[in-house]
Assembly symmetry: C2
Homo-oligomer: 243 residues x 2
């Protein structure tokens, strides 16, 4: 059994996701927003590579599809929703399909190949996601945490969240074969403390949200277990698996 | 003035090295070996993308060129030297040109574009490299530390060395605009302690060296300031700039 973290999709080896149980993290904000939408009754979230793809997806699937997403943190003109977890209210999303296009998170979800399972993870579903990772290891499966990062580069918010996730699931010194990034994420989580929003606030992603008048999203993303669902990607849709 | 770290060449933005003073780190082992070779009198080290390119380079430049490098940590058949700093003795390299092909480090050196200066850094030249970085910032230039990483993925040995380098140059909390990776590397360096070889020994790169019977290289790479030279890459050659 092995525990791997990749800090960016580009850092993933060609076979590194094959057969593993994969958790994709884009904590500011895509995977937080996906949890919020499904927790509040959305039927499914369809991750899209580009806004154009989201539009085509909506045309194919019909009228109950909401277009959602961001470019440079801001809502996309003509779309129903942005990429803010605060927009994913029950009133807005219950019973709906969402076609979601974001710069990093949805692309990271789509970059995974040949995994046994693919889930969306964040602080808002930390406990339930960590429990699933523990179960996977108990059943003899490898775990991969894939951080979305930021335009191909390392993002501290995602790396810290990966470390908090591994800490929650396996403790500070897992008796498992960890790759270098898994060890580093555990060090970051152990050193930076448990105050999610304090850590987030020192990251580039948070600075961009503040600059776009979206600072309130940081507090939502840092509310541990606020949306305790485990979105699973299957047949190109994120849904909550039946219990 | 900004302080950037990239954990892999792939994580570098298209303009991120432009105009900066760049320090490339592949501590296990390429940049350590480059320092050893120049410290022991090699005239220059020519970083090569592949063993074939090293052979072509030697054919072009003539008989005093030594072929050096590794594939999967091991010496390349037909080459004069491997990629071990222990091979770079004065007897072996003094007065020679070396054409060096390694999997990660030489490629990282060649991936930098448009920088003001490009240097090779490691633990063995930490103090002199950190002093150069401090000077760059004092003169108003941005600094970029580029970790070679490992086949496109994060390598803890390089990230830790980047943090030690920034700590040495600027202290634990630089009054400079740091990117997320710079902050993370400072946390890693601050948390993992000052024992180079202890930290190195927990990395994948070290495990591979041990498996190839090259464990003694880890202790050499972890000997701070053992080879206090500052190799600069210019016109495709690494040399020690005239004082």
């Amino acid at each position: 059994m092995t525990l791997h973290v990749a800090f960016t999709p580009a850092g993933l080896g060609p076979q590194e996701s094959a057969g593993r149980v994969v958790f994709v993290i884009d904590v500011l904000r895509a995977t937080t927003t996906i949890c919020a939408a499904l927790h509040h009754g959305a039927r499914a979230v369809i991750p899209c590579d580009t806004p154009d793809e989201a539009v085509r997806m909506a045309q194919t699937l019909g009228s109950d599809v909401l277009l959602a997403g961001e470019r440079q943190a801001l809502p996309i003109p003509g779309f129903h929703l942005g990429n803010s977890p605060r927009e994913m209210t029950r009133e807005a999303v219950s019973g709906k399909l969402l076609a979601l296009a974001t710069t990093n998170g949805t692309r990271a979800l789509l970059s995974v190949n040949g995994a046994a399972h693919v889930y969306a993870a964040a602080a808002v579903n930390l406990t339930v996601a960590a429990a699933r990772a523990r179960q996977a290891v108990e059943e003899g499966q490898g775990v991969l945490v894939l951080c979305a990062g930021r335009e191909g580069a390392f993002a501290l918010d995602d790396a810290y969240t990966a470390g908090r996730f591994l800490l929650k699931a396996f403790g500070p010194d897992p008796a498992l074969a960890c790759n270098d990034a898994a060890r580093a994420s555990l060090v970051l989580a152990g050193s930076l403390g448990a105050a999610w929003t304090t850590v987030f606030s020192r990251t580039r992603a948070a600075a961009d949200l503040v600059a776009s008048d979206l600072a309130a999203d940081i507090a939502v993303a840092g509310t541990e277990d606020a949306f305790p669902v485990l979105p699973e990607l299957r047949d190109r849709r994120l849904t909550i698996p039946a219990a």
